[in-house]
Amino acid sequence: MAEVLFIEGGRVIDPASGTDGVRTVVVRDGKVAEVAARLERPRDARAIDARGKWVTPGFIDLHVHLREPGQEYKETIATGARAAVAGGFTAVCAMPNTKPVNDNASVTELVLARAAAAGLARVYPVGAISKGSNGEELAEYGELLASGCVALSDDGRPVLSAALMRRALEYARAFGLPLTVHEEELQLVGKGVMHEGAASTRLGLKGIPGAAEDVMVLRDIALVELTGGRLHVAHVSTKGAVRAIRDAKARGLPVTGEVTPHHLALTDEDVAASGYSTDYKMNPPLRSAEDVRACREGLADGTLDAIATDHAPHSAVEKDVEFDAAANGITGLETAFPVCLDLVRAGALSERRLVEALTSGPARAFGLAGGTLAAGVPADVAVLDPVAEWTVDPARMYSKSRNTPWKGRRLTGRCLITIVGGRIVHEEGRTER
């Protein structure tokens, strides 16, 4: 039986219940028992002094790559879940592009078993849209749902066939599963390795035009209109995609979207400034300042529902090579909160909206439990220090991989305590790295 926790004196920000103010959060029997301004602490309770801190629902990440099964040298479910709770995430959705691909119950069950053994963050498996994510045949959505998948995705690649995408959206309707889509038109992408613009021209690297994303988002919105299926656009990075999702929502279509901290914070000029550092190579690529502005606006006005990290660990084998040859992706779980908090300081985002996009926004998009501190829900809580400064030292991070563009940078904002189901799973300073 878990102990009773009294999280006292912190600023509770819970957009789902409209709470923002100094409250005490009581956790009992693994659940949020009470959130109130003035409470008497019983003698058996453990007090957590949260004065000057934020107390929020645990963050939910709709998009991570845990690499297990198949590429455990990059990350395992245990190390990924450890990185998650260190970043304030109490639940993560694990993309199916593992080896083998999660397109059947046995892989889903393995993911859930490893996650349970790790006992850290909740791990929600995402099943494949097509068998082997090959884009040819539909995967068995009934089996995936029954074994515990919460969404479907062929992430890592787009669903090239519009006809298959149509059938996937139609078929998934029977199971209420959203399709989370990686949008890029591969012929427009060609051999591109970064955003097409002045920076790619200067660096002499092949560019990927923003339109490569836009045309696929527009295609899939048209297919949502045709089928009534639920579409979630992964890692939105362009002005055009934000506009398309905004229009779709205005027309009442079941379309949601997510954006990563790096697409909100960095531009293609940062790739140039880094001197071809492969820690700045990801897909979709870092876009123009104009695209970044549009993504920030889309997040602020609710067009984009969630901040998702697209945590993509890679080893030096994939990254210590020519930019053209390097793997796409960066780690993100441990830096998401401070990076996004910078947007608040820059006036691009309200504090409430930031917390919403990390908690109830993603919960709603995928229909997941959590994302709130309402009494009676499982106690998934983050205690955050919004002013703590720290320097990103990849050697001291929990992820197995070190591919982060924030390497050596000073960030402000840190997760101090993470609670999952009423149990403290991360306490800053308590665990040796």
């Binding site: 002045a198 021209t201 200067r202 001197g275 071809y276 090579v321 020519e322 053209d324 040859a325």
Partner: protein
């Protein structure tokens, strides 16, 4: 050292003064090349390794001759597919070569940024001999050297660069160096060969050849590299040569008589340039070849830390 730089990888990061430092030294290096005995001891005991991942006899030979004239040991390490197919990474290769303790590593690679990656893993100076569509700094410098020879200065001059700007590392290095030396640069080619945002580098863009070359003091005609064009950027070379190639008639009608014509070579005769123009009085293409050796001597000399006393000898 060239100015603040240990390497010669990108002219974008060179200042006007740093570019002039190389060009001024190249003047005395060219004098050495005109002597009956073309050998000075400036870099005796130093070694230069040419590491070429892409075939280029011209550039490689030019660096090799430059090293030999300065009495450096030159080693050509042709990284044919062999080491690459063995799974050895570029970083491994660089580290292995580093064990041979070269003073300068000259590298040509098909990936933009490859020389920088190598530079991060070796202790010696790195010279880019062309990386992907990024830069070809020694070519940019030799083009500027040739223009200074022919025009006196680049200050206030107008230079047209014509061809596949998208894939051209020469165009980028030329543009950086020429604008820093005070020239106005017009880029020209079919819109499919003009990369996004190139104006941000300080050039104007024309799609009509006539508008680009009229009134210009120099025209750089780029090689159309079929082998590097992944997608169909032009319908074919026939239309290209009609619209963007220079023949004697266009040259006579559109070019100022004193306008000089450059080409990084090798020429696709009849595509970018008709033979009469390539071999005509306005062409300085052969000067470029000789100047290339002088400029590369200057680069190697500066980076390998030649003996100042020997430099005096070279200048004498």
């Amino acid at each position: 050292m060239i100015g603040r730089h240990k390497h010669c990888i990108s002219l974008a990061e060179y200042s006007r003064e740093e570019i002039l430092e190389v060009l001024d030294l190249a003047v005395s290096m060219k004098e050495v090349l005109q002597r009956p005995i073309k050998k000075v001891p400036s870099l005796r005991g130093k070694s230069v390794v040419n590491l070429f991942f892409e075939a280029s006899t011209r550039t490689r030979s030019s660096f090799e001759i430059a090293a030999k004239v300065l009495s450096a040991d030159a080693l050509n390490w042709t990284a044919s597919a062999s080491s690459v197919t063995k799974g050895e990474t570029l970083v491994d290769t660089a580290r292995n070569l580093e064990a041979m303790r070269p003073d300068v590593l000259v590298i040509r690679h098909s990936a933009g940024g490859a020389p920088r990656l190598v530079a991060e893993h070796v202790g010696c100076s790195v010279v880019s001999a062309g990386d992907g569509a990024h830069e070809h700094p020694s070519q940019g410098l030799l083009d500027c050297f040739t223009l200074r020879e022919k025009l006196g200065t680049l200050e206030g001059k107008t230079i047209a660069i014509v061809g596949d700007i998208s894939h051209s590392r020469v165009a980028r290095s030329d543009l950086h160096a020429m604008t820093k030396l005070g020239a106005r640069v017009r880029l020209c080619g079919p819109p499919t060969m003009i990369p996004a945002g190139i104006e941000a580098l300080g050039a104007t863009v024309r799609t009509q050849l006539r508008e680009a070359v009229e009134g210009a003091d120099a025209v750089v005609m780029l090689r159309i590299q079929h082998e590097r064009i992944g997608d169909p950027l032009i319908p074919g070379t026939r239309e290209y040569s009609k619209l963007w190639g220079l023949n004697a008639k266009k040259a006579a009608e559109w070019l100022r008589p004193e306008c000089v014509i450059l080409h990084p070579g090798p020429i696709n005769r009849g595509v970018e340039l008709s033979p009469e123009v390539a071999d005509g009085p306005q062409s300085v293409i052969l000067d470029q070849v000789q100047n290339g050796v002088a400029v590369r001597m200057a680069i190697l000399y500066l980076l390998a830390g030649g003996n100042p006393a020997d430099a005096g000898e070279a200048k004498a």
